[in-house]
Symmetry: C2
Subunit: 442 residues, 2 copies
């Protein structure tokens, strides 16, 4: 038995499981359809997603779309759609992606219930979710039966290496993108072989490619909508990880790519040793985690980490590496060449020939660590640095950093640097910085 | 008596002195003319420079030009010119500016004797020195008698503040440029008032300005040659120093601008304290002084200092300030934010999707201070730094720095940094870095 057959044994739902899931999905759709009849609108209810396409792994989510006529105003669509979902799922939870939907449980399976418009044609699109029924129909009619297991292998591979899912946290490959890749290259192996040779900017399609150009790492023209890149959410990082994993897997296949070991945290002593060998220092900033869904939270966390690094670099600190960790709170870790800087810094002023040059002289004759002096015609001075410690700087100026909007108000819980920052509380965050192993290498 | 009258009392040669100098100049010209008759060429001999223009200070140089017909080949002009000079001045010394000339002593005065072409028109110019007779004639016929003392004041002022002379060491104002400035603005005070408002790129002329554009800090169209900027040798530093000095002098005139106190060296303890307050460190590199005239030496010293700083900055050292000192040897001083850097540095590699990415991985999996990792699609690693000390770096790599060509072979005599560099031997060089006073502030 090949490795891939072994993997399939583990991930592919059995005939019975398929039937049981199918039954649960049908009963859910029946119940929603029943409920929809109560509305004086012509609604249709559609099972979409991996169950509808029979490309699901164990314990799939059920994705049920409620399709509204185009004439219904958006607000009404949302209020009816959410109310309907809540009636069916009981304690359903309202969530927002691009637009609101209800998340809940049906007979032990997680369910997303999403109101959308029933359109004839993707050019009438009002929101990204309106496209989903087209995707489901496309895959159902174009994916060959024998390819469903190839999709499952590819999904599990992407999951194992950490790039499965288009959500902001992962910025990886959506299920639909993986299905299209199988249609494009035929098999799991075919996709990996092709991926080994992908370059940034690779453009793919299923024959319907259009002229629209995208600047994304990978472009896959959506067969149901030529104006869309199915891989638009894919980050360069996930793209690169996939290429690297594909090459490594082809060079030495292993179950680890599909089922990585659990990544534990590194030991504090080990991390201390690593930092000592590099001669660098870490700064760890812990803030409160605001109440946001992941799709809103993660982009802000990434942006905030960039903002913190920019603040440090703007004051001459040199960032070697950075990471973050989201749990009960949010921890930012920045590895710096030096955690402190000398008090004096070269400060460049106006040229001697401008009228306000004297304001510079007056100020710095008093406050400088040198006299002002001329350098290539411009005034300069060795000025005292406002903050010589990275922690001081963050303590005083964090609020001026370019943080994500919802993180700006978050309470700063702790700021520590150097040996003091290497403690149990920060272990997960430090591991995120220092554990550079790929998932399959653990 | 005004300050300027007092200064003039000191610097303006008396009637007797003028006459004595005139006699010595005439006797020299007579002797050269006599000597020139021996050649079978129609040579003429001309006194040029400040004595010819009566704008000289005490102990002027005598500048005697030997004018050759245009038909004489350059080699012949040089050999005859130099031989003639040597015959007149005895142990005359051959020097090279743009072209060779003889330097010697005549009756107690220093003499430059320069062969050049006698041309009708500056458009026939073969070398910059051919222009000098035109300058002398122009000043003699256009400078008013009353302005000669104004020129003297301005020359002494420029000398005092350290910007007199167009030679490479100073990159300041030539005597001719100062004479033109007096003609342009009428008086010493008039020049200073105008200079107070100069901007970088100020363009001046005496009515003959042409269309030719220059990108120099100051432009003065040569009245005898519109294609030349008389201020072309003036550095932004000297230009800025002059503007600043002019403003300061007008705000508070003092003899110090004309006759600055001698700049002594700072005390070692004082300099140690200054560096401690800044938290910075110094690196001092001493090399042999090659046998070059100043006009060739100084540009190379400046270029070499730039090259040394670029070498340091290319390896992540941060230069705060720099200076050099030329005496028996050449000392370069660089003030660094830190004299050492941590062993680990962020090293960026190829993107994951290029074919040679694996060479990077193979190398750094063995040699890295971290595992290679992906960052925005590119490989990166914390790599060990080749040189953690600035002195080590210079010791190993100085020969790869962009040094002046004649300094590349010069023997490195000493490399010291930190407290060890703050010693008597380096005192002059350190003073050049740390003594930021203007000449008139000493």
């Amino acid at each position: 038995m090949t490795l891939e057959q072994e993997i399939l044994m583990k991930i592919s739902p059995s005939e019975e499981e398929r039937e049981a899931i199918g039954n649960r999905a049908r009963s859910l759709v029946g119940r929603v359809t029943e409920e929809a009849k109560g509305e004086d609108l012509e609604l249709s209810v559609l099972l979409v997603g991996s169950v509808a396409k029979d490309t699901f792994l164990h314990n799939p989510d059920l994705d049920v779309f409620i399709l509204f006529p185009e004439s219904v105003p958006r607000e009404r669509l949302e209020s009816i759609g959410l109310a309907l979902g809540r009636r069916v799922l009981g304690t359903g939870e309202e969530r927002y992606a691009e637009h609101p939907y209800i998340h809940g449980i049906w007979d032990g399976l997680e369910v997303d219930m999403v109101p959308c418009y029933r359109i004839d044609n993707t050019s009438h699109l009002k929101s990204a979710v309106d496209r989903t029924p087209f995707h489901t129909r496309y895959v159902r009619s174009h994916l060959k039966d024998a390819q469903r297991d190839e999709v499952r292998l590819l999904k599990q591979f992407a999951k194992g290496i950490g790039v499965y899912g288009a959500e902001a946290k992962t910025q990886g490959f959506s299920g639909y993108l993986l299905e299209l890749l199988i249609m494009r290259y035929g098999t799991f192996k075919g996709v990996l072989e092709a991926a080994s040779a992908w370059k940034r900017g690779t453009v793919l399609d299923l024959g319907e490619g259009t002229g629209r150009r995208f600047d994304d790492p990978l472009v896959f023209h959506d067969p149901v909508d030529g104006n869309r890149n199915v891989a638009s959410a894919l980050s360069a990082h996930s793209f690169a990880t996939f290429i690297h994993a594909a090459r490594r897997y082809l060079g030495g296949p292993s179950e680890r790519f599909f089922f990585p070991r659990r990544r534990g945290m590194l030991e504090l002593e080990e991390m201390k040793g690593m930092l000592e060998r590099r001669g660098s220092g870490v700064l760890v900033i812990g803030i409160e985690r605001p109440c946001l869904i992941d799709d809103n939270l993660y982009p802000q966390v990434k942006r905030s980490l960039d903002g913190i690094c920019a603040l440090l670099e703007g004051q001459d600190f040199r960032v070697i590496d950075r990471a973050f960790h989201v749990a009960g709170g949010i921890d930012f870790v920045v590895e710096l060449e030096s955690l402190t800087l000398p008090p004096g810094r070269y400060h460049s002023g106006p040229p001697a020939w401008v009228d306000n040059a004297y304001a510079f002289l007056e100020r710095w004759e008093k406050e400088g660590l040198s006299r002002p002096f001329l350098e290539r015609g411009h005034w300069a001075v060795i000025a005292p640095r406002a903050y010589t410690g990275a922690d001081e700087l963050i303590r005083s100026k964090m609020s001026t950093a370019a943080l994500g909007s919802d993180l700006r108000e978050a309470k700063v819980l702790s700021i520590a640097m150097g040996p003091a920052a290497i403690c149990e509380k920060n272990r997960a965050a430090l591991s995120a910085l220092l554990d550079k192993r790929m998932n399959w290498e653990i």
